[in-house]
């Protein structure tokens, strides 16, 4: 009897990674300058000084090469007030975003202004750079801008080899939701059951079940409980170590086709030497101890050979 809810399972998902980019000659020069407390612009084909500098002219697309240092004070062209700063922004207390035209520049730089309150912001106000405590060669070497009536903060410039690379950490948060079909499958796993669903149009059994059959474009419906054994349809031997790896190479990642299913899923085959795994090999789930089960396929630690004779090729040839 099926008592499992289809209410979508939902959980926070934090995504984090670093982008590492090479800067090239123009942005590299700009970043190296920031670390040394100077701000480089570049002269456009119409004679304007572009800050931040661009590699190519925004109007003519001509390659630009003539650097021009500009001032560290400038004028606010426009601003908006951020009463509740978001993660990663230059300041964690209320601040203004502004486009600041530095003295000697003809275009404006986007950055934060630390003015304390919106009453102290105005278009046309003069601001100066407040340098970051530890310059590394990035736009963040400008901690923010501040009004001229604020006492300046003394900060040491940095030095070293020219800056050629930039690493930007990215952190984004989501509320991830599984489909109703996937949610039943995940709840089934928490009970040690492998639940697939059958497409009402083509009768194929999918595990995990799908929000839409890739052949027919309709949600799968009838629930099928599948056994925890099946065959290896195809596999690869992982020999290369990589970040986050949990098992020492060599090991086998394989597509396992459970008996009665029409689609294989990816899992590990352990319990024999990697070079003994083969197509058609019969395998069975090695479940983790029951007290470790959750709504995850990790409840199955791996699949291991059953020792039975291999399945004939024709029995799984349609599922490769």
């Amino acid at each position: 009897m099926v008592t499992i809810s289809s209410e979508p399972l939902s959980a926070p998902l934090d995504v984090g990674f670093d982008y590492t980019r090479s800067l090239g000659p123009v942005l590299g020069r700009f970043a190296t300058g920031l670390r040394a407390h100077t701000i480089a612009g570049i002269r456009g084909s119409d004679g304007r000084v572009l800050v931040p500098p661009t590699e190519y002219d925004p109007v003519t697309a001509e390659k630009l090469t003539e650097f021009v240092d500009v001032g560290t004070e400038g004028v606010v062209q426009t601003w908006s007030w951020i009463a509740q700063p978001l993660a990663g922004q230059p300041l964690s207390h209320p601040f203004a975003w502004a486009l600041v035209k530095l003295d000697g520049a003809d275009t404006a730089l986007l950055h934060a202004v630390d003015a304390g309150s919106p009453d102290r912001m105005s278009t046309g106000m003069r601001v100066r750079v407040r340098w970051a405590a530890e310059p590394v060669g990035s736009i963040r070497d400008i901690e923010c801008f501040e009004p001229l009536d604020v006492e300046p903060t003394e900060r040491e410039a940095g030095s070293g080899d020219p800056v050629t690379m930039l690493t930007t950490p990215i952190h984004l948060t989501y509320q991830h939701t599984a489909s109703p079909e996937e949610s039943r499958y995940l709840r089934g796993l928490a009970e040690g059951r492998l639940l697939g669903q059958r497409c009402p149009a083509c009768n194929k059994v999918y595990i995990p079940p799908r929000g839409s059959c890739p052949t027919d474009g309709v949600p799968t419906e009838d629930e099928i409980e599948l056994p925890d054994h099946g065959v290896v349809t195809t596999f690869c031997v992982v020999n290369v170590p990589f970040l986050g790896q949990r098992i020492k190479p060599p090991y086998v990642a394989a597509y396992i086709l459970l008996e009665g299913a029409d689609i294989p899923f990816l899992h590990l085959v352990l319990g024999c030497a990697a070079d003994e795994v083969r197509m058609g090999m019969r395998v069975r789930a090695q479940w983790r101890p029951r007290e470790q089960w959750g709504t995850t396929l990790e409840n199955i630690d791996h699949f291991r050979p059953t020792g039975e004779p291999d399945a004939p090729y024709e029995s799984y040839a349609q599922h490769l």
Partner: protein, 350 residues
């Protein structure tokens, strides 16, 4: 070159939050079924499929591939994707039909904006060296543009509130709208700032949604429906991503796209303006007079499903033609920060 027309349009309701997955399947399956039923086509009749969506919005890599399940993509289909609003996917499909490669195409866009923190996610579309590292939020950045126009005397906070109020009134007749109501600029101006000079009503709401359009060529289009909405002009242009090097009080790329598409004589316009001041800015850039009905659907201030909202403008403009309420209509779509990229599509009834 083949003539191309919009012959069908369907959308999911614009809502603040859906319980579905970020791959859009739950929203797309009913939209496809309705669209195919309306046109009498089956999926085998569709020559080309093209979509617009974003992995950053979905919080997962290659999210558009999972969405392909909603089509029922076996036997294999011809399919493509743009990581921007699906209005640009429609442009790709239009080219495919114009060049004679196919005679029908289905274009779809989807976005579950409620899954992540939209204001921060949008920082990922900015210059990755000079801007994204600062995490500029989309509303704060829009406030910079709004204030430039206010300071230049091009619009006032009251003008902006009038846009919001008229959007909500127009949306009363749009069953798919998220925000609708009979309100006034006075009422709206009593609300606090979200990012001075922007209040909540100045910003399109966070919206989950999806939409799809079927295009067909010449005789095929005439077979499929009584009154196809023929695409007579279709152009898109782009401005520099460096917002400090642009005149943000106008939109050179919109002006150039409109000139190339030929927008004279349009009776109705659906504009993709995620902020109230951008509605005013776009009317000026497009040279729309008082006689032009703008955003009869309520526009994106009444519902803004990311990556589908521009496509919906084309669907809504086509609906005006197909219902006989206009002979010549304009649809505009935007992508990128502060109206960086703009597309203009002109539709005609014949």
């Amino acid at each position: 070159m083949s003539e191309v027309a919009v012959v069908g349009f369907a959308q999911a309701p614009n809502v603040r939050r859906t319980p579905g997955t970020t791959n859009g399947v739950e929203m797309l399956v009913p939209v496809f079924h309705r669209l195919l039923a309306d046109t009498g086509l089956s999926k085998q009749d569709i020559g080309f499929w093209c979509s617009g969506s974003s992995d950053y919005l979905a919080g997962r890599a290659f999210s558009f591939i999972a969405a392909v399940d909603a089509i029922g993509a076996f036997p294999p289909i011809m399919e493509s994707h743009v990581e921007m609003d699906a209005a640009w996917a429609l442009y790709e499909a239009w080219v495919k039909i114009r060049t004679g490669e196919v005679d029908t195409a289905l274009v779809y866009g989807f976005g579950k904006s409620s899954a992540g923190e939209l204001r921060r996610i949008m920082a990922m579309q900015m210059d990755p060296y000079l801007m994204t590292p600062l995490w500029p939020d989309s509303i704060g950045v829009a406030g910079l543009q709004a204030r430039l126009g206010i300071d230049a005397g091009l619009w006032t906070e009251r003008d902006m509130a009038e846009v919001a109020a008229s959007s909500r009134r127009a949306a009363l007749s749009n069953p798919d709208a998220q925000l609708a109501g009979d309100t006034t600029a006075e009422e709206l101006l009593k609300q606090p700032y979200l990012a001075d000079p922007l209040r909540a009503h100045d910003c399109a709401p966070i919206t989950d949604g999806a939409a799809a359009i079927i295009l067909a060529s010449g005789d095929k289009a005439r077979d499929l429906c009584d009154k196809p909405a023929w695409i007579s002009g279709f152009e898109h242009r782009v401005d520099t991503p460096l917002i400090g090097a642009r005149d943000l009080t106008t939109s050179p790329s919109t002006i150039a796209a409109a000139k190339a598409a030929g927008v004279d004589g349009v009776q109705v316009a659906e504009l993709h303006a995620p902020f109230t001041h951008q509605d005013i800015l776009l009317r000026q850039a497009l040279g729309l007079g008082e006689e032009v009905r703008v955003n009869p659907s309520g526009g994106v201030l009444a519902g803004h499903p990311m990556f589908a909202a521009g496509l919906i403008r084309i669907g809504a403009a086509a609906a005006e033609i197909r219902a006989g309420r206009a002979d010549r209509a304009l649809a505009h779509a935007t992508s990128g920060p502060l109206l960086q990229q703009n597309l203009v599509c002109v539709l005609e009834g014949r």
